[in-house]
Symmetry: D2
């Protein structure tokens, strides 16, 4: 495949299949001197792991992350300190039910990567979707946990803003609410609406799409690399690489098509502290591919998973017409679990650009900033 | 900057500023044996060049492309044949009016990259936007002209589908109409609407956003490289790298958030010719990052240019509050000229993935396909 | 560090420290349909593993390799078949004696990377050399085991040709002898000479340098990528990346400085089978960065390890003058164990270029060749 | 080809053929604020240009370099200041005599890349060697001129140390002598020896090999990126990419095979200024892939050019046996003109690693260092 790595100086390589022994990643380029605990890292993985509510897949995975290299233990026996060498992280698979998938070994599920993998590779690990399964994203979330530590003061948060036709009311936005419901919804008023709607979807063995919004605060101005390494470009690329994502926006996104130049331009004034103040953020924190210092705002759309109980017309590997329905355990709305994944991708993109700008070693720390 | 190159095997490096001597690109990885004429290449550049209607900037540039390396002339004295070495292409700048920009040398135009370039680099070629100007995209279009030749049978076309709130009627879609109006509109009925609307925008010295749709036909199934080199990911990345683009969609895009799994899955049946037939194309021709053989469909949103005649609040390089309005010649709707640029970016992404799959040399030709 | 990956389409990322839990690699870009057994892979690792004679370090490591992803088991329950997804391989560390190294935690061993790692990173895993230890090369050998399978008919072999001033007699060269002595010597006559010489070095707690020669047969003509991805360039780069290597040659190497053009040119004649025959191979199988179809020949020089029992003058991390001698278990001639490592590096370089030329997927197989 | 670019943050892409319109390069990643004059740049090109003595090719090229982008002129109208955008440089070809090469259009010169290019690409620009000509190195020298400016205090010099069997006496080494003779010899005593020897070679229409040594002073300690982006590895890679180079050494190089650990280890003592002092430099300034702060020392061997007047046996493109001798103008010892090329390659490698460590923008300047 050759293309299971992303990043230019903060480089992440992931590996592993849904029903293999394990999956993991190698984070290469993590600066030395970053301090973290396994518990901190695990917290991000817990946010993504399956089986946490009736609205996500019932597969049971603890998703316990192990760190195999790249760190030394501090004297407290708990804090890990990066040494600048590759951080290899591993997550074991424990709850595979591969026999659920026997039926689809030679049948292409419509809307899945089954057909395209077979065309491209001529061989395919059909168990649980193999490499194309969203289980791969556990490794991204682990990498994102480190990326968050690379940029001093960086805070990356995401929330679900739409399920089906039901959108949140942005006036209700409260980050504190995100962890209070199984949807990562920032608007408590939407929660009962989504519950009722998704219960219907779930009971029908159906699925539905969603939209996630990611906001990164504490991004220093001047990060980004025109022309073909723009910060928004790299964020778009990484968000689009998440399973089932079909659209990405920065700032106003598609709505900017309807705006005039007067409406869209983010005016500036000089602040009392000698730093510029932007009077709006239509740009989503990025101009010309370079960060403005405002929050970076991105959104992405996730299609409904094609793993549904209703039969759909398809073909098999031998070229026969068949009808396929997907057994196994699946997410009625995969968008929910995409929330921590989106955070991880944006954190990784920002960390990478930060290091391009500041250099790859601990010198960033020694120049006054703090990497922790 | 370090990041003025894109592509993995079909690699394009662009260079040049809006008001410099020239701009150009080096296309590295173009397979040997590709045949083309300068006239063919120029035709793509003519489509993008400024000054062709009252709805685009009145800067007059012939945008004549020269090929400096990487080809041998065929006996007809006209057809160029690539040799597999880098193709260097150059376009001279002829109609710079740099004095128009003296006023903004130290003032940051809101919504432009002026401020971010200064923060990042501490120095900035302010004339015509320097490197951040969309003049850079002439080089992309030249590269795209070669990319189109790399994949036998590939046809990449684009059209403008929305200006401001005014969208085309998709039932009227006719590719033949695209060249019959100054907007690249596929729906003749929208033309008078857009004319009237844009005339108002133009006379007010204002600007407005737009949406472009790109469709690539003839993409072989099996092209793409999961997990972090997905075809849709690379298309998203390149479209997002175009100046002023704020959103990218593949297939259903953001609309997929509202669909159920039943609605969204593209069902399949075996065709009489032994090839699979997809009964719909919600996926936009890509599943799991790999092409299905259906048309690849992408859309992108362009924000209104911030170069407007109305004064906006801003600051200057010395930290003073100033009011800025942009003189010089500008596009009331930069989305129009983004149409051939979007085509070029999609063609380059597909050519790159095609070569990843088939190899970098002329062997693709010798195996029965035709590179011309 | 950001730079623990090599290769463009056959990409290898290694991770792990000498005294950590484990080390390993991710091979990304291995084509689908490659068949191998764990025993085949293990055989390469066994060739490199420590403790096999008195002339190498007495550290005892089984170096058992595990394959965690990227394969499916064939029906025989033993043969693994690659699927085109990343192959993650892991080797556990079992015989660390970290306390041997307590003394050098803050002292810089002359000739080691201790000082430079501290300068660069400000923190260093001193146990067994940490990441700078040659234990990392176990992962390279595992990757090389797969690389050998990528190119049909490829055979990569290496031999030790010099220890200290004692060189083999090239007229005695017999590949069959290489496995008959603990030095990988192709000349049986040199074995007693090296035994006596190295016994002296070993008992004195000293060390000595060596030269390894690698020969790759079965490399198709036309592999390589000028100008900055030349096959010899990539081989030189990878051989130079091996611990303690200080020089690399292709073909005649430094001896070519003494030759005339008449002597050095490899003349050609047409063979009866319609393929060209080269009458000599001064070029080492590569011209203009591209393979000629002759055997690819490379040599590299390994310096003596600086881990010696004699005290040397140095400094410590606090800037004090100290005298350092290295306890722990070490190789009197690290060049011996470099033989399988050199093979692995050359195999990986060739596999990478083969895939650049032929494409990244199983199509190479389907076009008549056989990947096994 | 896809591989005409080198560098990770200081990226150089070259293009052009020996007998095309022009050749050039794009330097991407040059930090902003670097100040230079065209005369400074030209001085490096003049050192490499042909026709300067009877010992090099008599082709007459002025090799005048033009800067097309990436700079602004300072008020003095002469000093160029980089803006951080790609610096495109162009050198026109003026003295092509393509008809000299008609005879070899379909004949493969032994020892040249003629055959391998034809095998790989199936088409070849035979005029003057096309892309495989050493004329390409003019672009490297131009890029090197910028690279030298990136690292404050960096001085990169090279000298010829061997022609044929005739080596300099290292005890005579005097950098001031290098510019006093047509060989870049640091030892005046060798000059008459080389003159007489090369006159004989030249008159016989023959050629001979050589060895060049490059020394870089002012390299900060801590530059380099293990494991696969080692500074010595990148230097080896770039030196090996130079036409006709067959071997590369760092520090003691192949001689280290004969040394014991005691002899080879560079002992250290603390200096009065608080900086470590190395008591020798067998390592050539690099340990574990990272610079020690000592001079970086590299050597490379250049084979004799295969363009000789004596007939050699070969084949043509149709598979016929032919005898070939090379007309046209050529270098009796291409190693002479390799001296400034070697300097350029080492300067580029160091600049790239410096930026990886310190970051890609002008911040390096603002932190106290000076980029000029």
């Amino acid at each position: 495949m050759s293309h299971n790595t992303f990043g230019h100086l903060f480089r992440v390589t992931t590996w592993g299949e849904s029903h293999g022994v394990a999956l993991g990643c190698v984070v290469d380029g993590c600066p030395p001197g970053i301090r973290f605990t396994l518990a901190e890292l695990q917290a991000w993985l817990d946010k993504r792991k399956p089986g946490q509510s009736r609205f996500v897949t019932q597969r049971r995975e603890d998703d316990l992350v192990k760190v195999l290299s790249g760190v030394m233990l501090d004297d407290d026996g708990e804090t890990m300190i990066t040494t600048g060498t590759p951080v290899s992280m591993l997550i074991e698979n424990t709850d595979q039910r591969s026999k659920d998938y026997g039926e689809i070994a030679h049948r292409y599920r419509p809307g899945h990567a089954d057909y395209t993998y077979d065309v491209k590779y001529g061989i395919r690990d059909y168990r649980g979707g193999g490499r194309s399964s969203a289980r791969e994203t556990a490794a991204r979330v682990a990498a994102g946990g480190l990326a968050r530590k690379v940029v001093p003061g960086l805070v990356v948060r995401a929330a679900l803003v739409q399920i089906g036709k039901h959108k949140i009311d942005r006036n209700n936005w409260d980050w504190n609410e995100v962890s209070n419901n199984p949807f990562f919804a920032p608007d408590p008023a939407i929660v009962p609406v989504w519950e009722e709607y998704l219960d219907g979807i779930r009971k029908a063995g159906s699925s539905v799409g969603a939209v996630v919004e990611v906001v990164a605060e504490g991004v220093p101005a001047g990060i980004g690399a025109p022309i073909y390494g723009k910060l928004d470009q790299d964020i778009a690329s990484l968000l689009m690489s998440i399973n089932a994502v079909k659209g990405v926006e920065i700032g106003e996104g598609f709505a900017s098509a309807e705006l005039t130049g007067e409406e869209n331009a983010d005016e500036m004034r000089m602040g009392n502290d000698g730093n510029p103040i932007f009077l709006s953020n239509h740009a989503g924190g990025i101009l010309g591919g370079i960060s403005t210092g405002q929050p970076v705002v991105a959104r992405f759309a996730i299609k409904p998973t094609s793993s549904i109980l209703t039969e759909r017309r398809s073909i098999d590997a031998d070229g026969n017409n068949v009808d396929v329905r997907t057994k196994g355990r699946h997410d009625p709305c995969v968008g929910i679990r995409a929330v921590p994944i989106g955070e991880a991708m944006v954190a990784c993109a920002i960390a990478d650009h930060y290091l391009r700008d500041r250099g790859q070693t601990g010198r960033l720390t020694s120049q006054g900033g703090s990497a922790t």
